[in-house]
C-alpha cells in the first residue's frame, strides 16, 4: 500500500529511538498534584472544592456551565491544600487546585466498571464523555464531547483516529498503538456507533511499521475499519492535512472537519472515551513521553494529571548536560517552560529537555526571499510576509495575508535560513487582531448604550 500525504511540510529528524522501544512505565502517584482549572480550549472551570476539603481520586473538583469546556477531577486522594494561582504550562499563571496525597490513592465511590455501557443512548454517551472531562489528547485539548456533537445539518461519514504522531521525539501515541490497540479500536467503534458512521480509519505514519502491522492484523475482523499508512512528514498529524492525505478533500478555510463529514480524534482520546464509558473513569492520567538529550532516562510514562515537571524529571533519572530548554510537548509546537515547578495538564503529550547542543541560536537575519517557507507551508500561506509586516508591527496587513489560517505548525520558521521567528510574529498578530476586535465590539456596545 502506498503511503498517503499532503503537499508541503518538512522532514525534521525523528529522534524517536530514544523512547519508542520501551514499554510504558507507570509513575507512582506523587505526594502532591497541582490541577489547573483550565486545561482545555474553552471556558475555565470554577473550583468545587475549598481549602481543607477531603477529595478522592476521580472526584470532580472543577466544573463550568459554559458550552465549550470540560470538568477537571482530582487525580489522587487526599486533602485540598489550597486553591490558588500557580504556574501554568501554557504560560503565565492560572487558578489551580493543589491536593496533598493521603497515601491511599482511593477511588471515588461512583467510579465503577459498567459492562453494559454499549446500551447507553447517544446523548448519554456525550454527557458521560463530557462529565468525565475527556478532551483531545493530541495537544490542543479541545473538549471531546463538543467534537462528538456535529451540527444537525452536517452528515458525518468518516471517523479518523489520528495515530500519526508527526512531532519529532514524541512516541507516546506509538506506544499506545502497540500496548492499547484494543481500547483504541473499542473507542473508535463507540464513536462510529454514536455518530452512525460506517467508516473508520486509523492513520499511522510509515515510521511506525510495527504498529501498522499489529493494527492491520487485529482489524482483519472489523469490516468497517481500515488502517491507513501515511508518509512520515511533519505536520502529517495536523487535522486538515491528515484529512487531505486520506480523503483528498480540503476542509474549507476557517471551518471544522464537520464540513467535509469527518471527525478526527487522537488515539489517546479514543482510549479515554472507552475508559470513560466502560470504567466510568475520568481523565485523571495519561501517557507522556519524557525525552531529549537533557533527560537521563528517556521513557514513556503513565502519569497523573497535575504531577509537577520536577517530580517527573526525578522519576526519569534527573537532568544531565547543559540544559537549554524545557518544553511541554514536541519540538515543533511545544511550549518552552522557564521552570520545572509547573504541572502537566491533559493536553501534555511530552516533556522534552534540550541541551545547548540541540538548540541552535543564531540571530535573525534579513529575508533573502528564498521561498522555502512558502514551499513548505502546509496551509499554502506566504509566511515571509509575516516576518516582513511583523517587524513593522503591521498586524492588520498580516491579517489581510490570512494569518488567521496559520496553524502555527512551525514549518516555516524551522526551514528559514535567515532564522526569522515567523511563528512568533504570526502568534503575536493573532493576539493583536483578537484584541483589536474585542475593543471594537466593546466600543460598539458603549456607543449603543
Amino acid at each position: 500500500m502506498k503511503a498517503l500525504t499532503f503537499s508541503g511540510g518538512v522532514h525534521p529528524s525523528g529522534e524517536k529511538e530514544l523512547t519508542c522501544n520501551q514499554d510504558v512505565k507507570v509513575m507512582p502517584p506523587p505526594k502532591m498534584v497541582v490541577i489547573p482549572l483550565l486545561q482545555h480550549t474553552g471556558a475555565s472551570c470554577e473550583s468545587l472544592v475549598q481549602k481543607g476539603d477531603k477529595v478522592k481520586k476521580g472526584q470532580k473538583i472543577g466544573e463550568s456551565r459554559a458550552l465549550i469546556t470540560a470538568p477537571v477531577h482530582a487525580t489522587i486522594s487526599g486533602g485540598v491544600k489550597e486553591v490558588r494561582l500557580y504556574n501554568h504550562p501554557l504560560g503565565n499563571k492560572g487558578l489551580a487546585v493543589i491536593i496533598e496525597s493521603d497515601g491511599f490513592d482511593q477511588w471515588a465511590d461512583d467510579i465503577k466498571r459498567d459492562d453494559n455501557f454499549f446500551r447507553l443512548l447517544p446523548q448519554e454517551i456525550r454527557d458521560k464523555v463530557r462529565d468525565k472531562g475527556v478532551v483531545g489528547l493530541g495537544g490542543a485539548a479541545f473538549p471531546t464531547s463538543v467534537k462528538l456533537t456535529p451540527p444537525a445539518d452536517k452528515e458525518i461519514n468518516t471517523i479518523i483516529i489520528n495515530g500519526c504522531e508527526c512531532e519529532p521525539y514524541l512516541t507516546c501515541d506509538h506506544r499506545l498503538l502497540l500496548e492499547n490497540y484494543r481500547e483504541i479500536i473499542e473507542g473508535l467503534k463507540i464513536i462510529m456507533r454514536l455518530l452512525d458512521v460506517g467508516k473508520g480509519i486509523i492513520a499511522i505514519e510509515d515510521n511506525k511499521l510495527d504498529a501498522i502491522k499489529l493494527l492491520s492484523a487485529v482489524i482483519k475482523m472489523e469490516p468497517n475499519i481500515e488502517v491507513a499508512i501515511v508518509k512520515t512528514k511533519y505536520p502529517q498529524g495536523a487535522e486538515k492535512q491528515l484529512i487531505k492525505a486520506l480523503l483528498g478533500c480540503e476542509v474549507p478555510a476557517g471551518k471544522l472537519p464537520f464540513e467535509v463529514g469527518v471527525v478526527v480524534d487522537n488515539v489517546g482520546t479514543a482510549v479515554a472515551i472507552y475508559e470513560a464509558l466502560r470504567d466510568n473513569k475520568p481523565l485523571i492520567e495519561r501517557i507522556i513521553t519524557v525525552t531529549g538529550s537533557g533527560i537521563k532516562e528517556p521513557q514513556n510514562i503513565k502519569v497523573r494529571i497535575g504531577t509537577l515537571f520536577s517530580d517527573i524529571v526525578v522519576f526519569c533519572g534527573g537532568l544531565q548536560g547543559d540544559i537549554a530548554k524545557v518544553i511541554m510537548g514536541g519540538p515543533m509546537m511545544g511550549i518552552a517552560q522557564y521552570t520545572l515547578d509547573v504541572p502537566i495538564i491533559k493536553g501534555t503529550s511530552g516533556i522534552l529537555v534540550l541541551t545547548a547542543q540541540d538548540t541552535f541560536a543564531v540571530p535573525a537575519g534579513p529575508c533573502i526571499r528564498c521561498a522555502k517557507c512558502i514551499e513548505s507551508c502546509p496551509m499554502d500561506l506566504t509566511p515571509y510576509l509575516y516576518g516582513l509586516y511583523g517587524r513593522m508591527q503591521d498586524y492588520e496587513s498580516m491579517g489581510k495575508y490570512d494569518v488567521a489560517d496559520c496553524i502555527e505548525c512551525g514549518v516555516c520558521a524551522y526551514g528559514c535560513p535567515a532564522k526569522i521567528p515567523l511563528v512568533q510574529y504570526a502568534k503575536w498578530s493573532k493576539m493583536e487582531i483578537a484584541q483589536a476586535k474585542k475593543k471594537k465590539i466593546e466600543k460598539k456596545d458603549k456607543d449603543i448604550k
Partner: protein, 304 residues
C-alpha cells in the same frame, strides 16, 4: 532555579544559514571561474579577485558608515563581486572593475537597506553603470588564449561582420570571445546542476528563460541553439535571474519571469541596438518582480 531559555516554537531549526546558501552559490561558480582562467589566462583571475575584494571592501565601509551590522561574512558581497567580474570583458582595466564592484554594492544594494531589500540584481546594476560610463572598455572583447581583439559571436551575427562564427562545440565549451564568465556553457551547467541538486534554485526560472529564447528564435527563423549558447544566456538564466532576492518566489511567478525575460532578450538582440539583451531583460523583470509576486500568491489551503 536555572533560567531555561523561553522562546516561541519551533524549538528545532535547520542548521543551514544565509551564509550556507551563499557558500553553495560560490561553490557552483567554481567551474566557470576555472574555465575563465583556462581560456583567458591569469588576467581573468585578477579581474575576479579585484572585483570580489572591492565588493567586500565597499560592503564593509558602507555598513560602517551607515552604522549597520557588518555582514561581509554572509558571503553575499563576495558573490556580487564575482558575478560582476563574470559579466565584464576579460581585458577590462582593473580600476574600472574595482569601481564597478563598489557601485554594485553601494548603489545596487546598500542604498536600499542591504541584503534582502535590493530590488535589482546588484551585479547587473554594476554592469549597467559600467556600460554607460566606459562603453569602449566594456565592449572590447578578446579571443581566448592569445587575447587578440575581436567581436563576440552575437555581434558577428548581428552586424554581419566578416568573421567566422565559432562552432557549436566551441560555443559549448567556451572557446569563444565574450564576457569573462559567460563563455563556457559546460562549466556553467555543471555549477547549475550543483545548485539544483542542493535545491538552492529551482528549474522553473532558468528552464523557462532558455526555452523562451530557443522557441522565439526558431519562430522568427533564427538559429535557436546559437542564440542559447552564444551570449550570456546560460550565465544569466542560472546565476543572475535566479538571485532569490530579486526574482519571484513561486514556481508560477518564476516561469512568468523566465518566459518574459527570454522574449525580451530576443527582442533586444534582433530589434534593439545592442547585440546582447540578457542583462537588461533581467533588470526589467527584477523591476516587475513585486508585481508578479502579488499576482502569483499561492491559493491558501481550503479555498480550492
Amino acid at each position: 532555579m536555572v533560567p531555561y531559555i523561553v522562546s516561541t516554537s519551533p524549538h528545532l531549526k535547520i542548521r543551514e544559514t544565509i551564509s550556507a546558501v551563499m557558500r553553495d552559490v560560490l561553490i557552483a561558480l567554481i567551474p566557470a571561474v576555472a574555465a575563465a582562467v583556462y581560456f583567458f589566462g591569469r588576467r581573468a583571475l585578477w579581474v575576479i579577485l579585484i572585483s570580489m575584494a572591492s565588493a567586500i571592501a565597499a560592503e564593509f565601509i558602507s555598513e560602517k558608515i551607515m552604522k549597520r551590522e557588518v555582514t561581509v561574512s554572509d558571503g553575499s558581497a563576495a558573490i556580487t563581486g564575482l558575478l560582476l567580474a563574470m559579466v565584464c570583458p576579460p581585458g577590462i582595466p582593473l580600476w574600472i572593475i574595482a569601481i564597478g564592484a563598489a557601485v554594485s554594492i553601494v548603489l545596487g544594494k546598500q542604498v536600499f537597506g542591504g541584503l534582502g531589500y535590493n530590488p535589482f540584481n546588484p551585479a547587473l546594476i554594476g554592469r549597467a553603470v559600467l556600460m554607460a560610463s566606459w562603453p569602449v572598455a566594456m565592449t572590447t572583447w578578446v579571443t581566448p588564449f592569445d587575447a587578440i581583439t575581436t567581436a563576440t559571436p552575437l555581434a558577428i551575427a548581428k552586424f554581419n561582420l566578416a568573421q567566422p562564427l565559432p562552432s557549436y562545440w566551441n560555443l559549448f565549451i567556451g572557446n569563444r570571445a565574450g564576457s569573462l564568465g559567460e563563455t563556457s556553457a559546460l562549466a556553467l551547467l555543471l555549477g547549475a546542476a550543483y545548485l539544483l541538486y542542493k535545491k538552492q534554485i529551482s528549474w522553473h526560472l532558468p528552464v523557462s528563460f532558455i526555452a523562451a529564447v530557443g522557441l522565439l528564435s526558431s519562430i522568427i527563423g533564427k538559429d535557436p541553439l546559437f542564440n542559447i549558447l552564444a551570449g550570456g544566456l546560460i550565465l544569466g538564466a542560472f546565476f543572475m535571474a535566479t538571485d532569490m532576492v530579486t526574482s519571484p518566489m513561486t514556481g508560477q511567478g518564476k516561469i512568468i519571469f523566465g518566459c518574459g525575460g527570454g522574449i525580451l532578450t530576443i527582442l533586444i538582440r534582433y530589434k534593439g541596438g545592442f547585440p546582447e539583451g540578457v542583462c537588461y531583460s533581467i533588470l526589467i523583470f527584477n523591476m516587475l518582480t513585486p508585481l508578479i509576486d502579488k499576482y502569483t500568491r499561492p491559493q491558501k489551503f481550503g479555498v480550492k
